[in-house]
């Protein structure tokens, strides 16, 4: 791994951890500790389009582990991991098929769906799916849309900044 890549990866992990911390300050309606909106997905969407897949996965794992150890518990780690992994899988699947905005929207939705499934498994109540499903899918598409728009801006800006650098 080149030094440039290493610096960029470290930077992205730091941004992701900061975003994760910020959104942990906003209350989340799912009655389980550690469930989040998924704004830190910004880093994942960005790296998915800008970097090789292996780097995207490494950045994601580093971000989740660091966030988990700094601000979370084992259960919050479980929630962010399940949300992030499901979200990433869906986005990898969709990336070649549809435009970035839609990829990000579905990433946001499945971030929340992953957490909801985990919540159902942990609490053993599938009723949570009916109670929170609508809200989480709606919120997921909105955060996904926001993340998508921001990612587009960042991608455009980074193209200018890194032009000639890489």
């Amino acid at each position: 791994m080149k030094t440039k890549d290493l610096v960029l990866d470290g930077l992205l992990v730091a941004v992701g951890v900061a975003l994760g911390f910020l959104e942990s300050l906003i209350p989340f309606p799912l009655p389980v500790p550690g469930a989040k909106y998924g704004f830190a997905n910004l880093v994942t969407v960005y790296s998915l389009y800008e970097l090789p897949l292996i780097q995207t996965v490494l950045i994601l794992m580093a971000r989740i582990l660091i966030s988990g150890f700094l601000f979370g518990s084992l259960s919050s780690l479980l929630y962010s991991l399940s949300g992030a992994v499901l979200s990433l899988l869906i986005m990898i699947l969709l990336k070649r098929q549809v435009p970035l905005l839609l990829v990000s929207i579905f990433g946001g939705i499945f971030h929340n769906v992953g957490q909801l499934i985990t919540a159902c498994l942990v609490t053993g109540t599938w009723g949570l799916f009916y109670t929170y499903g609508f809200f989480l899918v709606l919120v997921g598409s909105l955060t996904g849309l926001t993340v998508g728009i921001l990612s587009k801006l960042f991608l455009r800006a980074s193209e200018r900044i890194f032009h000639g650098l890489r």
Binding site: Q97, V98, L102, F106, Y130, F134
Partner: protein, 111 residues
């Protein structure tokens, strides 16, 4: 934009839309749940389970204090001799009851 790409976008949006509609319809609603307050086999009042409330029901020297909060109802205090109604867990499901037999006083959750 190619035709197949357009089709994929359309299908995904369709899935998203129908999922949202379906989940919206599947949402459980507690709207309409009520509590019948019964004294000596007669419904004397029907309360809304979604409206927080604390109210004393006094008949002669018999007092039962009823509390509704968070979609549940319970007897907070009463001056009956056995205190079974006070010790009953809060109820919220249709058909559940809390009885104070010494006072002939009954709470029942209904649709």
């Amino acid at each position: 934009m190619s035709r197949s790409r357009f089709l994929k976008i359309f299908i995904l949006l369709l899935i998203l839309g129908s999922a949202l509609i379906l989940l919206f319809l599947l949402r459980p609603t507690d709207k309409g749940k009520k509590v019948n307050v019964i004294k000596d086999n007669t419904v004397i009042e029907t309360l809304d389970l979604n409206e927080p409330l604390q109210k004393d029901y006094t008949f002669g020297s018999d007092v039962n204090t009823v509390v509704i909060k968070d979609g549940t109802v319970e007897v907070l205090s009463a001056n009956c001799h056995n205190q079974i109604c006070v010790n009953s867990e809060p109820i919220s499901e249709v058909g559940e009851t809390i009885a104070c037999l010494p006072h002939g006083f009954l709470l029942e959750v209904v649709e």
